[in-house]
Amino acid sequence: MKILRIMKTLTHVLLTIVIIIFIITGFGISNYQIIESLTGGTLSKLTSFQIHSNLIIPLIILLVVHIAFSVGKKLKKENHL
């Protein structure tokens, strides 16, 4: 049970991080001048593209796991009632 709880927390934390990076890199594509100057050129349009497109699969996986945990929790609660 402890492992499950750790996995749950890890999924939520990772999902939050991935979503934030996904949004920032999205802006890095559409508003690259702003993001490039804010990051001192570190997050260029090309880098944003690469990160953004490589994050799609991890984002979907984390989202599915996150939903599965939430649904599982709800079902468990209902069964107890």
Binding site: I23, G26, I29, S30, N31, S44, K45, L46, F49, Q50
Partner: protein, 223 residues
């Protein structure tokens, strides 16, 4: 009940994120044109001049038509300096419906009207050593193509889109219609075409990691 504050916080966060994300989509452009743009050509539905996203490196460039010059330089026997009227009045124009696909994910299908690049450069008598064309724009943007790409594919330098003169925002006086290439190869505000033998030349985005060929059937991320 004990989760109510966190639920409110979550919903507010989602709402803010959605608002920020959709701000760009809701931006409305209304570009002034010198004629009513057509939205259908030979049964084909066309996009609007307003459907483009502004993503140039320094924003729209104001070019004065009366002082404008298109230079043909480099490995040529007779360098040329065309004025806007020289080009409009002396070259045969052609029409083509071509879709521009941007690496950002949007695309527009437009009826382009313009002049063949091969006609413009042939007047300058290219040297046989010339292998590539380097296009230079008013804002400092550059991109390049093998000469045979422009000759074999009848590539246009457009001065009209959807039957209206190119507006400032879309590259007045001329935009290259680089069909089958990613949008970053469609250079706007063209002021110079240099013929060169430097096969390793890289333009603005190409020198920042984008593919030099810009072929749409390949990834735009250069190897």
């Amino acid at each position: 009940m004990k989760n109510t504050p966190s639920m409110i916080f979550l919903l507010l966060s989602i709402q803010i994120l959605l608002m920020v994300s959709f701000t760009g989509c809701l931006e409305q452009q209304n570009i002034q044109l010198d004629a009513v743009e057509i939205r259908e050509y030979k049964g084909e539905k066309l996009s609007s001049v307003n459907d483009f996203r502004e993503n140039s490196i320094k924003g729209p460039q104001q070019i004065n038509k009366s002082t404008y010059q298109l230079k043909i330089t480099g490995r040529v026997d007779a360098p040329k300096n065309y004025t806007y009227d020289d080009i409009i009045n002396n070259f045969q124009y052609y029409k083509k419906v071509v879709t521009l696909d941007c690496v950002e994910g949007w695309s527009v299908k437009i009826l382009w009207e313009g002049f063949l690049v091969k006609d413009l450069i042939s007047e300058a008598q290219p040297d046989p050593s010339a292998k590539i064309l380097i296009f230079k724009a008013y804002d400092g943007y550059t991109t390049s193509f093998p000469i045979n790409y422009t000759t074999d594919n009848n590539i246009l330098l457009a001065y009209k889109m959807n039957n209206a003169t190119l507006p400032v925002e879309r590259g007045f006086p001329f935009q290259l219609v680089a069909e089958s290439k990613w949008g970053y190869k469609w250079i706007k505000w063209v002021t110079e075409i240099e013929l060169s033998d430097n096969l390793n030349y890289k333009g603005y985005w190409e020198s920042r990691g984008y593919s030099n060929s810009g072929d749409q059937n390949e990834s735009f991320i250069g190897k």
